[in-house]
């Protein structure tokens, strides 16, 4: 059993983070200095750099600020940017969380706002830390997965091992989310065969086609040079390896960033924007995807890597599973689980799945993951455009 933080909306968090959010790059420095000076592992910096309005950024920021792992929010605004700071503060207040807003142009500039921010964080943190603790079962977790720095070992060790964890979690009644339709190009038909309904299958295929079109227009697939150095040759080869993270359970629905799955099961997060390509690449790097998994309620993220990613995340812990035994030796201090032992003949796939599951439970119970211990708190939010999901995407909604 997990000792969780109980939230007013009934959701449960495995961390009790005070988020400090800048609403435009012009407020980033002040917000960062507040967080740096406090130097508390549970006070995290999040933010949005743009000055133009964007409903996606508004949705994701509200979803993150009211995520069950968040206990309180301090907003740092320059004052003249487009972001609706009153709307964000109201959403957080309505969720029962303490929230304070600092407007640099009204507070008296950099030094005064940093000083005011230190006091604001102390006030909201005192309230958040006094919040109720409640028991939480593993089946109440929402777990995301992502791969980064994939190579030819990812699809035969770490990714199928996570697939095994996902199958076990789904069977136990938990909620699991896999994502990145650009890395499912080539898998669309076999994935559609696992859909709960034929209509959902058609939605899964359509979302991958959308990704293929988007990436083709931009001129690059979701494939980095390091993927090729690690033995992967094509987008569809990388996709087949990435796809194995989803396991073999039925797929219950398609969600978009900010949609929390309405019932337990396995969901695909469609991260590629709707409409003709605009604002650039769907996700400029792995952390943009992790932020979207968190916006869908992920309490933690299982991150597989072959070449060796070192990132973590603000708000929700990231657990690192290394696919490649050579990388596991070189970057041993960055990995939670060495799935490369499968290639060394030291462990079976099932044993590594069990190890990932056990590590996940321990981290959910409060033990910090390796990336948390190392201070990784990455966060990226950029411009995007989404239409709401159609009725075929969530066949179980309301059931």
């Amino acid at each position: 059993m997990i000792s969780a933080w109980g939230r007013a909306d009934g959701r449960k968090g495995i961390r009790n983070v005070v988020a400090v959010a800048y609403l435009v790059e012009c407020a980033h420095h002040v917000a960062r200095r507040i967080v740096d000076k406090i130097d508390d592992p549970d006070v995290h910096l999040i933010g949005f750099p743009g000055c133009f309005p964007n409903s996606y950024a508004d949705t994701v920021m509200k979803a993150i600020a009211t995520h069950p792992n968040v206990g309180a929010l301090v907003i740092v605004s320059l004052g003249c940017e487009s972001f609706n700071r009153e709307g964000l503060a109201a959403a957080v207040a309505a969720s029962g969380r303490p929230v304070e807003t600092l407007v640099i142009q009204q507070t008296g500039g950099t030094a005064a706002t940093i000083a005011a921010g230190l006091e604001a964080v102390a006030r909201v943190k005192a309230v958040a830390d006094a919040g109720p603790r409640v028991p939480m079962a593993v089946s109440e977790l929402i777990v995301g997965t992502i791969c980064g720095g994939s190579d030819g070992t990812s699809g035969i060790t770490a990714n199928p091992a996570v697939g095994g964890v996902f199958d076990r979690l789904v069977a136990e009644g938990a909620t699991c989310i896999f994502e990145e339709t650009g890395e499912l190009v080539g898998c669309e038909n076999i994935m559609a065969d696992r859909a709960l309904t034929p209509e959902l299958g058609a939605e899964l295929i359509a979302s991958v086609r959308k990704a293929e079109h988007y990436y083709t227009v931009l001129g690059f697939g979701s494939f980095a040079p390091g993927n090729a150095e690690g033995g992967l040759t094509t987008q569809e080869e990388k996709s087949m390896g990435a796809y194995s993270k989803s396991g073999s359970s039925l797929i219950s629905g398609v969600v978009k960033p900010g949609d929390v799955p309405p019932s337990p099961g396995l969901y695909m997060l469609d991260v590629v924007p709707d409409g003709e390509p605009r604002f650039g690449f769907p996700n400029i790097s792995d952390n943009a995807e992790i932020v979207e998994l968190i916006a869908c309620g992920a309490h933690l993220t299982l991150f597989t890597t072959g070449r060796g990613s070192v990132v973590g995340s603000a708000i929700s812990p990231v657990i690192k599973i290394c696919a490649n035994p050579e990388t596991a030796r070189k970057l041993a201090g960055d990995m939670d689980v060495n799935a490369g032992r499968i290639l060394d003949g030291e462990a079976s796939l099932a044993e590594v799945s069990d190890e990932i599951y056990a590590r996940m439970v321990t981290v959910a119970q409060g033990v910090r993951s390796v990336s948390e211990e190392l201070g990784h708190r990455e966060f990226i939010l950029t411009y995007k455009q989404f239409d709401p999901v159609g009725p075929a995407c969530l066949p179980r909604r309301g059931a």
Binding site: V185, G186, E212, T216, F220, T233, E236
Partner: protein, 98 residues
């Protein structure tokens, strides 16, 4: 095990321990000598492949051959391509703008 068959339909094997040129690998009962070093995670041909052949891994198509390969030959960017989106490398921009 130094080269792994992931699915019975596959036309390639995945190398699981680094191989040096001259090393021998068992492929479907035959002992094949490696012509070049092969790193972990890279692919070698399971049998003779011709230009245009679909490459099968995990039992699924992952691209097609752009040049022939003999059993045990390295299968990678020099002799296969995506059937979806072209693969880019660090010098792709230089090459496309030069």
């Amino acid at each position: 095990m130094s080269a792994l068959l992931l699915h019975p339909d596959d036309t390639i094997l995945v190398v699981t321990t680094a191989l040096a040129a001259g090393d021998r690998v068992a492929i479907d009962g035959a002992s094949i000598r490696m012509a070049v070093p092969i790193e972990v995670g890279h692919k070698i041909a399971r049998h003779a492949l011709s230009t245009g052949d679909t490459v099968i891994k995990y039992g699924a198509p992952i691209g097609s051959m752009t040049a022939p390969a003999a059993p045990g030959d390295h299968v990678h960017l020099h002799n296969m391509k995506s059937d979806y989106i072209a693969t880019h490398l660090r010098d792709t921009l230089e090459r496309s703008t030069s």
